[in-house]
């Protein structure tokens, strides 16, 4: 369970103080697929970076299963990111000179998992995200955008995290591939009981998530929730 309490992040820009995240509070149950929508520059990515411990809040706290991230030393935050968080970035952020399977193995290597085990799991995850087996050993820069995003999702799942943070996961993809990615995230949330928070400006994508939030001028409001059991598949 993720609890966000009065989260504030401010930046100085000359004489001005900018508050992309202003007193944000919410809770997400384990296994929820949630979305945050908002215009560009509304603070979506900043909020995501705070939840993923990529950045530190000016005030407020994030609790993961009751454990506070505030005041946690960098080494513990690194461990938190490695063990509990999976990131899916808009621009994929895969390591270009490595193959798909090597990229998926990276977080497991950092977690100290043996090579044979991580190789098996990496191939399993790539099959799960429906990447052709013959492309597993292909270099990232020789894969299409959709394929790269699938590799990025497989990498995010590598260490079976509790929370996946996806920043505009369909932003660089065509509509059909975007739909497929959303289906994939939804099934992951359902099948693996993984909490997934998707940041997007795509309303149709947001409508397919269990809970929808809107971030406007740093303030978060919940727009609505959906009964997944009643709605069936998000597609």
């Amino acid at each position: 369970m993720i609890e966000v309490k009065n989260l504030v992040r401010t930046f100085k820009s000359g004489d001005r103080t900018i508050k992309p995240v202003n007193d944000v509070s919410f809770e997400l149950e384990q296994g929820t697929l949630a979305s945050i929508v908002g215009k560009s520059g509304s603070g979506k990515s900043t909020l995501l970076s705070l939840l993923g411990a990529l950045d530190k809040p000016t005030s407020g706290d994030v609790l993961v299963n009751g454990v506070s991230l505030a005041g946690m030393p960098d080494s513990k935050l690194t461990e938190y990111r490695r063990r509990d968080i999976g990131f899916v970035f808009q621009q994929f952020n895969l390591i270009p000179n490595l193959s798909a399977v090597d990229n998926v193995m990276l977080p497991m290597e950092f977690a100290g998992i043996r090579k044979a085990v991580r190789l098996g799991r990496a191939r399993e995850l790539l099959e799960q995200v429906q990447l052709d087996p013959d492309k597993h050993v292909r270099r990232i820069n020789r894969l299409s955008g959709g394929e790269q995003q699938r590799v990025a999702i497989a990498r995010a799942l590598a260490n079976s995290p509790q929370l996946i943070l996806a920043d505009e996961p369909t932003g660089n993809l065509d509509e059909q591939t975007g739909e497929h990615i959303i289906e994939l995230l939804s099934s992951l949330s359902r099948d693996h009981n993984t909490t997934i928070l998707v940041v997007t400006h795509d309303r149709s994508l947001a409508n397919k998530t269990d809970r929808r939030f809107r971030l406007q001028q740093g303030r978060l409001t919940e727009e609505g929730a959906r009964n997944r059991a009643a709605a069936g598949s998000p597609a």
Binding site: S45, L48, S49, G52, A53, L54, D55, S75, T78, E79, R81, R82, R83, F87, F89, Q90, Q91, N93, L94, I95, N97, L98, D102, M105, L106, P107, E109, F110, A111, K115, R155, N159, D167, E168
Partner: protein, 483 residues
């Protein structure tokens, strides 16, 4: 994929840039290794000089030298006194003999001048002995002139063919008359040089002239000697000589306990001057003349010392350059890969893992640069060392020439075609020093190359650590920059 494999892969990400970096590193590392090789070669030569001729003092009877002059002969007691002087590590006594071919001597006895003409001054005629050996050096113009000026005055008529005497020296250790270790080309030494023996060491040309090899025999005053070994003194004069054990020579001369010279070796070059003074005081200036036979080597060693210092400074500078290249390249790579470093941190990489990855990447580049650089050094080190030495010795030779440094001691052996005995042969302004200087051979030994590469890797690690530490300062939020 392990950190190492990832680092190797990263090193070849941009092949053109990698090739350029390796080429630049190879030049710096090659230069560093070449300088180290030159430095080691020169250091070895300096040590060799210091350990041999550069630290040798020659003691002659006061007023006498070789077969010239006068005074009282040196004794075994004086050798004991000399050995007790501070900083004198060894004292080797010598007994000089002149050998005449028995047939030539018999022929000359009846002719004008007679044998006495070759005895020369010094009252040491008793040390002129007959032998079955024939000298390897022809008398020539110089020998005939010396013979005329020293032995045939007051006579007239046609003199029989003159033969150059052979130098025989009884020695107390396996060294030549300048204190330098004998270079045996065949056979063995004489074993205990302080005991009487019928073994002898012959100069290569003398043995060749007489058709002798190791195991052959010859006679001195009808006493048979066996060739135990052959040596190469490097000069025609030096190779027209033979060595016996000291007691054997004293017995032949019928002068037991008497020495022609003493060769005192000082423990280090720095102590030579003090030891010389102390030795002179201990023996007394009326009994012995102490001279530093290779005094000119001081300037030679000093010159080599300059080369050594220059090569060491150049080695350090080239090493620092290699380190700086690594530092700059890795800083550039870290800046270029900030986002990637942010990604690695975002997905849970520790700072030390990322730092190690960059250090290993730097070491891969250095390993490639070292391989090429070692090849460059193995070809270039000889030329670089020669260039360094020749430029420095040219200066030293000029300076020495202006000071008029004499080459060796004056020749004292009548009839000898060149050089002097027992002093070192004269060879121009620097004597043998210039030859010693140019004889420095800078060969790239595996040990020196390995030591140089180890130093390069050490510097590379230091150079790579700075950028590796910089990676720790990159925050994972960098990954979201530009998104």
């Amino acid at each position: 994929m392990s950190v190492l494999a990832r680092s190797v892969g990263n090193a070849f990400r941009n092949k053109v840039r990698t090739a350029a970096v390796v080429a630049v590193l190879a030049v710096a590392i090659g230069l560093a290794l070449a300088m180290l090789v030159a430095n080691q070669a020169v250091a070895g030569k300096v040590a060799e000089l210091n350990a041999s001729v550069g630290t040798v003092l020659t003691v002659n009877p006061a007023g006498g030298q070789g077969f010239e002059g006068g005074g009282e002969p040196l004794t075994a007691e004086q050798a004991t006194t000399a050995a007790s002087v501070p900083n004198v590590s060894t004292v080797v006594g010598t007994k000089a003999l002149r050998l005449r071919n028995a047939d030539a001597a018999a022929a000359q006895t009846g002719g004008p001048g007679g044998l006495g003409g070759q005895g020369g001054p010094g009252g040491q005629a008793a040390t002129t002995l007959t032998t079955s050996l024939t000298a390897a050096v022809d008398a020539g113009t110089l020998g005939a002139r010396n013979q005329a000026s020293t032995g045939t005055s007051g006579t007239s008529g046609t003199a029989p063919a003159f033969s150059v005497p052979i130098t025989a020296t009884g020695i107390g250790a396996e060294v030549d008359t300048t204190g330098k270790a004998l270079e045996l080309t065949e056979g063995t030494g004489l074993g205990d040089y302080t005991a009487a023996s019928t073994g002898a060491l012959l100069g290569t040309t003398l043995a060749e002239k007489n058709g002798l090899a190791v195991g052959s025999t010859f006679t001195i005053n009808d006493q048979s000697f066996t060739v135990a070994g052959l040596f190469d003194a490097g000069t025609a004069f030096g190779n027209n000589a033979l060595y016996l054990t000291l007691p054997a020579a004293q017995t032949l001369a019928e002068l037991p306990g008497e020495l022609s010279t003493m060769i005192a070796t000082v423990n280090s070059m720095e102590n030579v001057e003090a030891a010389k003074t102390a030795l002179q005081e201990a023996l007394g200036s009326d009994a012995a003349d102490v001279s530093q036979g290779q005094r000119n080597l001081e300037s030679a060693v000093s010159s080599l010392g300059s080369v050594k210092n220059i090569s060491f400074i150049a080695f350090v500078a080239a090493l620092a350059t290699a380190g700086l290249i690594i530092l700059l390249i890795m800083v550039m790579l870290v800046r270029e890969r900030r986002r990637e470093i942010g990604v690695l941190k975002a997905i849970g990489a520790r700072n030390r893992t990322i730092g190690l990855q960059f250090v290993l990447e730097a070491l891969v580049l250095v390993a490639l640069g070292s391989a090429v650089g070692a090849a460059v050094a193995s070809f270039a080190s000889g030329g670089i060392a020669s260039a360094l030495i020749s430029s420095n010795t040219a200066t030293a030779t000029t300076v020495a020439g202006q000071r008029g440094i004499p080459g060796g001691t004056p020749g004292g052996f009548p009839g000898a075609p060149a050089g002097g005995f027992p002093g070192a042969p004269g060879e121009g302004p620097l004597g043998g020093a210039s030859q010693l200087l140019t004889s420095v051979t800078a060969s790239a030994s595996p040990g020196v190359i390995a030591a140089g590469i180890a130093a390069v890797f050490g510097v590379a690690i230091i150079g790579a650590l700075v950028p590796a530490l910089l990676t720790a300062r990159i925050r994972p939020i960098e990954v979201l920059r530009g998104e």
